[in-house]
Symmetry: C2
Subunit: 150 residues, 2 copies
């Protein structure tokens, strides 16, 4: 395990030194305009990884779920999130908790990015996408039906 | 384990709903003007707790060290931190990593608070304070000598 630096400043706002701004995940058509940066990992000794995701104006993350949980803190711009069965507005420093197997999707406002910190455990399962029957259940709620992007 | 809410908004900037703004720790003369809020804990399933600490203008946390690590993200105001053997300036979204047994102390600017998120593992040891010989070693560096408050 390499010894991590004690400090990561920013080379530009929301761009941390000593890392890379990466694509959110492999392009698969389920998301739009999302980048990620790994901020902490195994070498920090907490069994977790802290990442920063930024969704561009009008963009969205993948609608998905998994066994592991997310602890999310919004830190830039504005947007909203589907968490389980509710669509929540998000402003800087609002906290979202995605429980085990809860459906979730993050969307930026039309004219602003949405940037958020997201903590996960290192040893975690892969996300699963909604099947047609999952989407049918989610769309029973008109607010969720209008919100989700697949 | 109670089921946590999926969302914690703010009743005022940097005051999260569904919790309390508490004293940093029992008053012992080692810190000045610090509050804490517990943001996540055992019920979030990551084996960690995320806390928000706010140091008032001119205030400071306790100079201490321990086996467990800290992952810190500054989110409000400005200040600086001793981490191991360096004094680092802190601006919003700068990240500080306090390694195992590293001395650390956070100070706010004279005219601004310093607010930061701090992640720790739930199962952790208690901090220890510097002995006279530890202080003597720290004070060999004039920057650290001028920085620390005990």
């Amino acid at each position: 395990m390499r010894s991590p630096p004690t400090h990561r400043g920013q080379s530009a706002p929301f761009v941390w030194e000593g890392g890379e701004v990466r694509a959110y995940k492999e392009q698969d058509g389920t998301f739009r305009s999302v980048t990620r940066q790994e901020l902490t990992g195994e070498e920090h000794g907490q069994g977790t990884s802290l990442r920063y995701f930024e969704v561009g104006p009008g963009g969205h993350t993948t609608l998905e779920r998994h066994e592991h949980t997310h602890v999310v803190v919004a830190i830039r711009g504005s947007g909203s999130a589907l968490v389980v069965d509710r669509v929540l507005p998000l402003a800087p420093h609002d906290i979202v908790f995605v429980p085990s197997w809860g459906w979730h999707q993050f969307r930026a406002a039309r004219d602003e990015p949405l940037g958020f910190l997201c903590a996960v455990v290192l040893d975690r399962d892969r996300p699963v996408l909604p099947r047609a029957e999952d989407l049918a259940v989610l769309r029973r709620d008109p607010v969720i039906a209008a919100f989700i992007r697949v």
